[in-house]
Symmetry: C2
Subunit: 176 residues, 2 copies
Amino acid sequence: MKRAADDLASRFTEPQEGPLGSRLRRAMARFFDFVDEHGPGFAALMRGGPAVSAGGARSMSTVSATNALIDSVRQVAYDQILSHMGVVGPAPVRLELVVRSWISLVESTALIWLDGRRIPRAELEAQLVQDFAALAAVAAARDEELAALLRDLVKGEPGDGPFTDLATRLIALASP
Amino acid sequence: MKRAADDLASRFTEPQEGPLGSRLRRAMARFFDFVDEHGPGFAALMRGGPAVSAGGARSMSTVSATNALIDSVRQVAYDQILSHMGVVGPAPVRLELVVRSWISLVESTALIWLDGRRIPRAELEAQLVQDFAALAAVAAARDEELAALLRDLVKGEPGDGPFTDLATRLIALASP
């Protein structure tokens, strides 16, 4: 299990080059590769422990150890994202919430995808990148520091990137 | 535990009246009331079982029973939301994903909030309603049926409602 966790954590490593949206997109592709490869094992792990256990009974300390391992992978993902956003030191509290809750959105999206694979995974990878932008934008409405950070990041995005695309689409949806 | 689950599930009941955003906002307030009242117990439950166990060890079947109970509450929330969106019968697959993944976002946001309560809960309640609109809008970009449903719902929202507010803000953020 430790080996799988290390493998998963390694997939979040991404060069600090190019638009943030593209970096996030590549990390999402590698994450879904992992989910694809480990299907049922990944689902069982996220739901409190291995799918199959030798004796049919596992102690709560095994569950706690599994939780701690999953949390350590989440922490790697969290640290990576902040580093790619250029945030040094402890993140402002609302940014921390956005990043951590988005990581949990990625997990639950992967679990729902695994249940029947009814949506092409490439679509979900792209969608999750836009979800990140959307959740950050919603939070930025209440936090000037976060809004300034996002505005800087958006400047680095291409005009046909996922964030611009998202904003255009929301405008279209909001108009009668 | 069953009693707490029933209590939580009952908080998603909301009259079918007024804008969807306001209904969702009231349900969020009742959900955070529950989280507030049950703090550590809620956190432990969501992480695989009761915080304190008599013998210090619990079988995986207890964990599975807890998961099943949590899933039943999630299902109540899911059914309620679809009913308020006017969806009858099985939801289109992308709408199902949006609603289920948003429910998981609500859970993780509540867990992060409990860890230090560093953001006013009223702010998070309002933010989660906008998160729902944002995630739905992102998904609607790839699903004409969902887009049509959202356009209908937006028509029922007041001009100063959370969705219009969100769209305005995204436009401001996207402009240089």
